[in-house]
């Protein structure tokens, strides 16, 4: 029941929020819903057994028996941290927007809640039909979010995002179909249950079929992730989105989730596992270094952050390809860490944009003098983003790099090259935007308000906390990665 509640509360409250008339009602409703989700999630988290790799809190009801569709929910160590991430960040996101004035606040908060519900639904779904439904449902609120409250180029960005990722979803759907019918033909029973279909994959006889299914599913996931060269929807969508939209985008860790939950268990049974590993690793390494270089060339603060996100997401595929429990769990942790870090970074860029009216780094300057609180939070998150030890980014990166090096040294070396570049653009942006002489053209500037300080500061503290003590979430990731790896070891991959 608890999982259904966590998924449904945001969706139901989204509908209720739509009916509210004033900003106060809307934001209050949203806060109530997100806090309720947080409490339930924390309850679930504290009752979660991180030593076993199986699904917990399972719920299962028949839905469409003639097609083998069930309403099947459950969480394992891959999904739990991501649900936790969403549950934690969303209340802070509501607080962050607490004093904002914008048109149609009821729609705004309803869309935030809808996205949360859909995202958690993807993590909780254990039936492919349900999984795909939530997967697609994440698109629509974000499409509206970008289109209504986005920047000057919002229409182009939102439609590009919508269609590009929709294509990817549909290709993924083809992969699901392949999996579905392979099992159906073999057993004569239709069933879309995820764990069941994953276990049936190995019985497909045609090697080509297996590879096609794998690649189709993979395509859906890596576009969402995204990795180079399938990322071109991302810069525009993230940049044009309002800050809350950008944060919601980074909360949607469904691409990486799919890789861990669905791709890795299938990987050893494909006809050419080595090729698949190479694809994953190469995509990861290319994303890391390419994203870093493009970020270095950006002049818009938010765009720079977006490309840094591309770069960071490369670690997810690289670590997944590493196929060592350390690297895989590191990659999972990278998702968690990236969610925290990026949300603060986007909030910071949003605050700067609101205060100065520009995001062009060269037009800023010396903001630390006027916005000391923001400066402290920004320095901390930028450091986390560039992988400074003691913060979450480092835990993920070092796990991915050292774990992956065991099997794929060359790709790790490429990734290592990017670390300096990563540091360079972060520091360059900090230096230009926050330090140096204050640019008087920016006029009067006030520091972030207490709601913003609270939300950004608390997430920043979490970045520090999980950086110093990653075990609370890393342990369950480790359990699941060891499970995956032992499966592979049994297959001799």
């Amino acid at each position: 029941m608890i999982l259904s509640l966590i998924v449904l509360i945001p969706l139901i409250f989204a509908a209720l929020t739509l009916l509210t008339k004033t900003k106060e009602q809307a934001r209050g409703m949203a806060l109530v819903a997100t806090v309720a989700v947080l409490i339930l999630t924390l309850y679930m988290y504290f009752n979660f057994d991180s030593t076993i790799a199986t699904n917990q809190f399972e719920e299962m009801y028949q839905w469409v028996p003639s097609l083998g569709i069930t309403y099947h929910l459950g969480v394992d160590g891959i999904a739990m941290p991501l649900i936790l991430l969403n549950a934690i960040v969303l209340p802070f996101l509501i607080l962050y927007t607490w004093n904002d004035d914008r048109k149609a606040p009821n729609k705004f908060y309803a869309l935030i809640l809808a996205t949360e519900g859909a995202a958690i639904g993807v993590f909780a779904a254990l039936d492919f039909f349900l999984f795909y439904i939530f997967w697609e449902l994440t698109l629509i609120p974000l499409f509206f979010m970008v289109s209504i409250w986005g920047g000057p180029n919002k229409h182009h960005a939102s439609i590009k995002f919508f269609i590009y990722t929709h294509v990817a979803s549909l290709v993924m759907l083809l992969g699901i179909f392949g999996l579905y019918f392979a099992a159906w033909d073999a057993t004569g029973v239709p069933n879309l249950d995820i764990p069941y279909l994953l276990s049936q994959f190995q019985f497909i006889e045609s090697g080509l079929m297996k590879d096609l299914i794998f690649l189709a599913l993979l395509f859906g996931f890596i576009v969402k992730l995204p990795v180079v060269p399938f990322h071109s929807w991302q810069p525009d969508a993230y940049t044009e989105a309002p800050t809350a939209g950008s944060v919601l985008f980074v909360m949607l860790k469904i691409g990486g989730y799919g890789i861990f939950k669905i791709m890795l268990p299938l990987l050893p049974f494909t006809a050419s596992p080595d090729l698949m590993i190479t694809i994953l690793a190469a995509l990861g390494a290319i994303s890391i270094i390419y994203g870093a270089f493009v970020a270095l060339s950006q002049r818009d603060l938010k765009r720079m952050i977006v490309y840094s996100s591309v770069s960071h997401m490369g670690y997810v595929t690289l670590g997944a390809a590493g196929l060592v429990s350390l690297s895989v769990s590191g990659a999972m942790f990278q998702q968690f860490s990236h969610g925290l870090i990026m949300s603060v970074m986007f909030m910071a860029s949003g605050v700067i944009n609101a205060a100065t009216g520009t995001r062009i780094i060269n037009d800023l300057g010396g903001l630390a003098q006027k916005m000391p609180k923001l400066a402290v939070i920004m320095v901390l998150t930028f450091m986390a983003s560039l992988g400074l030890p003691g913060l979450t980014g480092f835990v993920a990166e070092v796990s991915v790099l050292s774990g992956t090096f065991v099997n794929l040294p060359v790709y790790v070396m490429i990734a290592l090259l990017a670390i300096v570049i990563t540091a360079a653009y972060h520091l360059w942006a900090l230096q230009r935007a926050m330090f140096g002489v204050f640019n008087e053209k920016l006029g009067t500037i006030v520091d972030i308000n207490s709601y913003q300080t609270l939300s950004m500061g608390l997430i920043a503290i979490l970045i520090l906390y999980f950086g110093l003590n990653p075990s609370p979430v890393l342990d369950m990731m480790l359990t699941n990665s060891e499970n995956i790896i032992s499966l592979m070891a049994a297959m001799g991959v």
Partner: protein, 483 residues
Amino acid sequence: MDLMLLAPEITLAVTGLAVLLIGLFLPVGSKKILGFIASIGVLAALVLTVTSLGTEAMMFNDTLSIDALSQFFKIVFLVVALLFTIASIKYMEGNKNAEEFFSLGIFATIGMMFVASANDLMVLFVAFELASLATYALAGFEKTNQKSLEASMKYFMIGSLSAALLLFGISFIYGMTGTTNIPAIAENAAGLVTNPIGIVAVILLIAGFGFKIALVPFHMWAPDTYQGSPSVVSSLLAAGSKKMGIVAAFKVFIVALIALQVEWQTVFAILAVVTMTYGNVVAVTQTSVKRMLAYSSLAQAGYISMAFVVLTPLALSGGILYALSHGFMKAGAFIATAAVVYMVLSENKDTEDPDHLDNFRGLGRRMPITALSMTIFVFALAGIPLTAGFTSKFVLFSSTIQAGFVWLAVIAILNSALSLYYYAKIVKYMYFLPTDADKVSEPLPYTIALVIAVIGVLAIGFWPEPFSYWAMEAAKVLIPGGM
């Protein structure tokens, strides 16, 4: 023989005649009542059909067959007819010819229903023509509107041509098999297969049905007619009479002409791909919403045609389910457009293109229910989950994969993604582009029709089980082998 099995048709016929007669004695002002009578009649027929789901019978010398397939399609037609009559209550307000309008609509529906249960080419052709003739008149109902007339004229001309092609084709089939009974044709198909005329006959039949389904290249009338006809009539044409072509083709090809399976499968493969691609690509550039929906209708017909290519029970059930879903979605979309057109025309009677995209600006604020319904319909047409469109695409496309037609599935998927572009454009105009115009009150009949359609779309999306079950039962009628 139990005439109760024909109760829905009889109810409709009585209603149609009653409307026609009562209308003669009513003053213009009170003709509103005709819409209610018609709606109640259609609703009654719908209820009768739904309650009789599952009965099987042969009637009138095996010329009519009551089975899951016919019942299912009758439900599709009745649902569309219901939406049509309810929405027309507003459209016909103050029109002195209302009785003709409603009775024509009802007769067209009767024609479609008989096509669905026809078990003989003769009955099928007659019923086909009944539906066509009624809709020709409906399309040109606005006698003083040049567009309506032009739409009707084109529909009529191409329709007549197609009828001739169809009849010519049927005559060959009859000549070579010696019968017009559909199952009997399959039994006597030997002459068809050996004679080269057989292929010509198949193509002629495809042209005849393709006209109704609006498959490229037999579609040329469709965009013009859908655009020019009154919007409610477009909804009947796109959502109803199109399905009539589909069910006729199902019966004739899959049951009667199964011996020539390879030939028509190839033709349908070509037509499906060309139709969906053409429909989507051209729809992208449209600025008239009705025309855009017309092209989208082409694309949807292309998807449904995939069922002929794949030809597995699952694919057929997908196609059948798609027909029902499309009935809700497309009828809903056209009715929403009708509401907008009504609103635009009531503001300015001489508006050149009342269904132009620009008139949808800010609709989210101006007509919230209409806009929300329209959003649901277009997202459903695009195949977004939890809508009927997704459920049917899920079944249909997945069957394509099952049968190994990966290339077809890929083309369909790409098309589906492309279609999102213009559907999203409508949403963009409704919600994201600003307008100065004020909020207007939404006419109640339109709203009721929209709500019914929305309920249908969401019901199939959220609870597909009964629908997919009956679709599979219907598919079993065509391919008795079962799953």
